[in-house]
Amino acid sequence: MTWRDEWRRVQAIVWKDLTTERRSKAGINAVVFMGVLILLLFGFALGPDTEALRAAAAGALWLAILFSGVLAFNRSYQLELDGGALESLLLYPGSRWAIYVGKLIANLVFVLIVEAIVIPVALVLYQVALPPGWPALIGVTVLGTVGFVTLGTFYAAMSSRSRAREVLLPLLLFPMLIPVLLSAVEASTSLLGGDPMLEAGAWVRLLGAFDIIFLVASLLAFEYVIEV
């Protein structure tokens, strides 16, 4: 098996997952709605004070992304399981990691689309003005999302095939994601304020390290998780 073959497998899985999603749109509608709903709930919980909302914006936004995005991961395997398709997928020749990478990329695209809708809504609801360095903010969001989706896709391979999958995934995933949440929120908050202390860089490096470590670990461990 050459790398090219594996890459074609990855592409096929990405295409299949995204096409399924594009044709039904059930998942994306629900997840986007959930994200906006959580933003609204945070607005009610924190009160209508603009200053307080602005200060909490990055934290509320990231929690909205985590709580809504987590609903997508189980679904990505559940659709396979319902049709008995996971077995066929495993029977095809090729490496197991190609399945993981395919699902990872599909989930990443999915969550990024959700963010493309939820983040502007958050900026409007919480009355946050974009700072001049906003491209850096996109970078932080993408890095945070990669960490989130990497572990989410990995843990969902287990939780979707266990009892009580809806409960199990957040219980496993959220404690592991605390470094991602902390660094994404701290870096975003500091960038939104114009990064006066130049501290965003350290958080971004931590995010990058987290992404690389868990991407490699998940790639290596996925084989053991999916084959039983």
Partner: protein
């Protein structure tokens, strides 16, 4: 039909139970002795008075939880490498004991924090990262509880145990950057000599308790696994199941 087999393995289990009880009794007597010794020889702390004595359980529990998690990581890795059920059960036993020690560390820390810092909880680096560690390993135990098939449970929990261990330093780093009230650890040079001795002997006593707990849970789990296999055999008319 299968009854004979059941009878056969009960006898060694009984013998093991009485040895276990004897060892357990010894372990707890040892811990009681080291605690009594430290409490009696250490003078009240200048600032904290007798409160300082919480240290003799709080600090050893925190040190030993790391030993337990180290065993989880090593046993998980070994399971993925060799695929033997023993390693999976050892990892599970160590994770249970580690979670217990983490819970103990957190609870005692809160009891200690209230009179000395004036608060039950603070978002300090060490407290927060210990709490995160607790949730990571409780998640591991919940995963085990939700998966019935032994092979699947073993593979999955080994992966989760390893990723959890990998995350421990990252969690610690991130939380430390985020916040830092917990005092820097005392070292033998900053600590009164009789405190140091007391702390060390208690750390060893707690370590022996931890190893006893792990051994005990490990043996119990082996018996449970053997009992499950036996039930399967009996259900299949003693012809041997898929695992035989």
């Amino acid at each position: 039909m299968g009854v004979g087999t059941v009878e056969l393995s009960v006898a060694p289990a009984r013998a093991r139970r009485s040895t276990g009880m004897l060892i357990g009794l010894g372990v707890f007597l040892l811990l009681a002795a080291t605690q009594a010794y430290s409490i009696s020889i250490s003078t009240p702390d200048r600032d904290m008075g007798h409160l300082q004595k919480i240290m003799y359980v709080h600090v050893p529990a925190a040190w030993n939880m790391m030993i337990a998690y180290f065993i989880v990581a090593i046993a998980s890795l070994r399971y993925l490498w060799k695929g033997r059920e023993k390693d999976d059960l050892l990892a599970a036993a160590a994770a249970e004991t580690g979670a217990l020690m983490t819970g103990l560390t957190l609870a005692l820390g809160m009891i200690w924090g209230k009179p000395t810092w004036g608060i039950w909880w603070t978002w300090d680096a060490r407290l927060t990262s210990t709490a995160v560690l607790f949730f990571i390993y409780v998640g591991y135990l919940i995963l085990r509880a939700f998966v019935d098939d032994p092979d699947r449970r073993a593979q999955w929990s080994a992966a989760v145990g390893l990723l959890g261990a990998l995350n421990v330093p990252i969690v610690y780093m991130s939380v430390r950057w985020w916040r830092t009230l917990h005092q820097v650890q005392s070292s033998p040079s900053t600590l009164d000599p009789n405190y140091t001795l007391s702390l060390r002997i208690n750390a060893i006593a707690v370590m022996i308790v931890v190893l006893f707990f792990i051994r005990h849970r490990y043996q119990t789990m082996q018996l449970e696994a053997a009992a499950d296999a036996m039930h399967e055999r009996i259900a299949l008319g003693d012809r041997g199941g898929i695992n035989a």
